[in-house]
Symmetry: C3
Subunit: 341 residues, 3 copies
């Protein structure tokens, strides 16, 4: 594959960025500030890496105007260098779109419909009444059950399972190992044994969502589990049945949302964080990593739980006191109440 | 598929429930209290949703006797509305059982046995000395290694892996992406490098267990990892080698049990909770979400760890004090000791 | 399969161990102290199980010299009984290596290279420019994308996905459901919508690494995500893009490392623990289970966060006080400041 080449000036123009320094310098790829080669584009967004600017060998660097003061090289000036870099980096991503058509090894139910402009890879099985729309890509080893839709331009990278009644919108990207539409975890205790509650709903995923590797999204018990548009889920996330995730919300790896929880738009859920069932989070709530949300949140803002990391010896001493915390507070209150000052 | 139809009176009779109101009303499916249509059955179990009763359009509602006071519609009276609803909802779940037989694409070792009344789907591979019993369903993309058993009436929905020496009882349901029987995590440090400890045991799963999507259960190092009957595991759970889970225990998503831990019967392990290795939990222990069990538990009851969720600013202030907790307690004790009152 | 037989004396000699008692006793397998049969080898490493020594039926037991005092049976004396047992147990692990060759159902891109001494199983697909080296085993249902390498003697057990640009060294073992090389979670907010940041790097895995079932390792954004040699990852672990894990580090189940974190050599990361992005951990850091690392660690040692497990009623009382901790500390300080003593 012959890599594309752009001048810094061309890149600035394409992304609508300001240019300082030599616009004729040629860019053939991207690199990090610390290790970019002389024909690569780098970026500076996180102040943590600012010191690397002095020594970078990059052909050009995307950065904020204030960071460009005194920079000797070629700078592309952006208000949001990370977003600008993302757009430019895409120019250097060479992905061969797979050919339309169904691989001869695939097993497609006669009642399923595959658009002739879709690609269905090796060892894929597609169940009754499912539909693969134009431009969709179903990679090798995927299993699509009954009554599913893979919308226009969506991609299941490989080994994705849509169990049943899963409808993906357009341009949805699902990474390997993800399982959408498995039975929700519905159980009733009945005479000393568990009774399974039928899971009759489905999963609806809006346009432009991204779903990470080995993430699971259960189908609803009665109504559907819903992701609105542009929801971004990292790897190994668990979404319980009948959860509802608002548009533009992003969740980091290993987060979990229990059944019937309702999360607003533009929320950010940190890695390993949990949201208990039946709660509601309003729009623009941030939950920090490994925090547990135990009550509904009505105010936008950042929320946390947990304790700070310490060396284990100190931690043991302090953690032991946590068990006495109520007693300590009572003693302190008694002391204060009897305090003559 | 033509949906089944029942009158409210028929439903009451089938589930042994009391009936108030019009028993002739026809039910064609199930819905939630808030959104059921006029031919759907709903239920009220969680008091959180009681206010929705006034406006429901449902044909009939399963509820407790005390909730039915003043309800104008048709009520099916149950002591446990959730369990009763579960039984009735199953009437409306139309699942076509797959045809018995082995899909032509499947690769079955000549030393494996597949009962003629079992179904083996597309792209399944079955290893030497494994046995698929009558009425079992092995869905598309499953991999069954050597020396495994899929018991009578059990179902591997799709893309399940039984690695080696995994014996499933009867009516076990395993969801996509689950991996049973992978090597336990056994390592010994030996001269500055890790030495792998052979994992020579298997996995035994009792009758009526359910295992969630992308859940992993490792095989034992020497003896077997064991799930007794009617254990219910949600998605993304990790069960370490030689763990033993008692009958009727249920674990919510992302919980983890380390090696050689022994969990009793009728335990409830919350989402994201962890149990360290070699511990024992007696019967009827509940562990709340994201708690870490660091010592054995001898008394039934509910156990927790963690701190409450707060806005991040307040949390930071309090969390910083956690690091001083032992010092604060010592100071308080000194103050109390010198307290003249 | 006829099981191998060794005398205790032969085992002692093979592993370089001391022998006490009857060296002629025959060993045909391994067992636990509590349940070994009279022809099985057991071991005692964890003092928790010392009491079982008196009643063991084992043919011989690997143990430390001090534990052998007064033991009536045959003892194999080792400084590290667990490592010694691991080496001996491997003698009884009978694994038939699969035949070299490519299963007729496999789909191999014409531009991929499979060494004739490698094994490629059923329903495997291998993409352009990928290479499977001598002695490697690619089990059933694996998907290998473009530009990947499976090094000499490595094994993908079954249903493993190497998405793109994943290079495994020699003798790497990857368990089912693992996904290596999926897109890192790179997003930039851009005009109210998420913009995907291209993930142009790969994943490099050193020699002798082991990667657990359903573990995910994302490929780098620009440079590679790296595991140095002899890294051992348990199941359901998440490694973010551009993380770097030092040699001989081991991580227990459900641990997670966020993007661009750098973990040293010989670290031990407990189950469910998390490491935030862009942090550095020096060599020989231990993080206890379910702790969250929120800042870089420069000193070897053991680190923890969290609170102790309590019965839920006590926990609620103490946890409520956690929200008042800063206020309590301020009150205590005021009291101390005004303290006349």
């Amino acid at each position: 594959m012959s890599a594309p080449v752009y001048t810094a000036a061309e890149l600035a123009q394409r992304a609508g960025l300001g240019l300082r320094g030599d616009g004729a310098v040629r860019v053939r790829g991207v690199g990090t500030l610390a290790r970019a080669r002389a024909d690569e584009l780098a970026f500076l967004a996180n102040p943590r890496y600012r010191a690397q600017l002095a020594d970078t060998a990059a052909a050009a660097v995307v950065m904020r105007a204030e960071d460009a003061e005194g920079f000797a090289g070629t700078a592309l000036i952006a208000r949001d260098p990370y977003a600008a870099f993302a757009r430019l980096a895409a120019l250097f991503e060479t992905r061969a779109a797979p050919e339309p058509g169904v691989h001869p090894s695939a097993v497609v139910d006669p009642g399923a419909r595959v658009d002739p402009r879709a690609h269905v890879g090796a060892f894929v099985s597609i169940g009754a009444r499912s539909r693969i729309e134009a431009g969709a890509i179903v990679g090798p080893g995927c299993v699509i059950g009954e009554d599913c839709v893979v919308g226009e331009g969506s991609e299941l990278v490989a080994r994705v399972t849509l169990v049943k009644r899963v409808r993906l919108g357009r341009r949805v990207l699902v990474h390997p190992g993800a399982v959408l539409g498995a039975d929700g975890f519905g159980l009733a205790m009945d005479g000393g044994r568990w009774l399974k509650v039928p899971q009759l709903g489905g999963v609806v995923v809006g346009d432009d969502c991204e779903i990470g590797a080995n993430t699971t999204i259960d189908r609803g018990a009665i109504e559907d589990t819903v992701l609105e548009e542009d929801v971004r889920l990292d790897n190994q996330i668990q979404i319980g049945h009948n959860a509802h995730i608002g548009a533009h919300t992003a969740m980091a790896g290993c987060a979990a949302v229990a059944g019937s929880a309702r999360i607003g738009r533009y929320c950010l859920i940190g890695g390993g964080a949990g949201v208990l069932g039946h709660l509601e989070l309003c729009d623009r709530v941030t939950v920090t990593a490994m925090s547990l949300v135990t009550h509904s949140i009505r105010e936008p803002g950042e929320y946390s739980s947990g304790t700070p990391l310490m060396d284990n010896r100190s931690w043991r001493r302090n953690a032991a006191r946590f068990k006495q915390l109520d007693a300590l507070a009572r003693r302190l209150r008694r002391g204060a109440d009897s305090d003559p000052t």
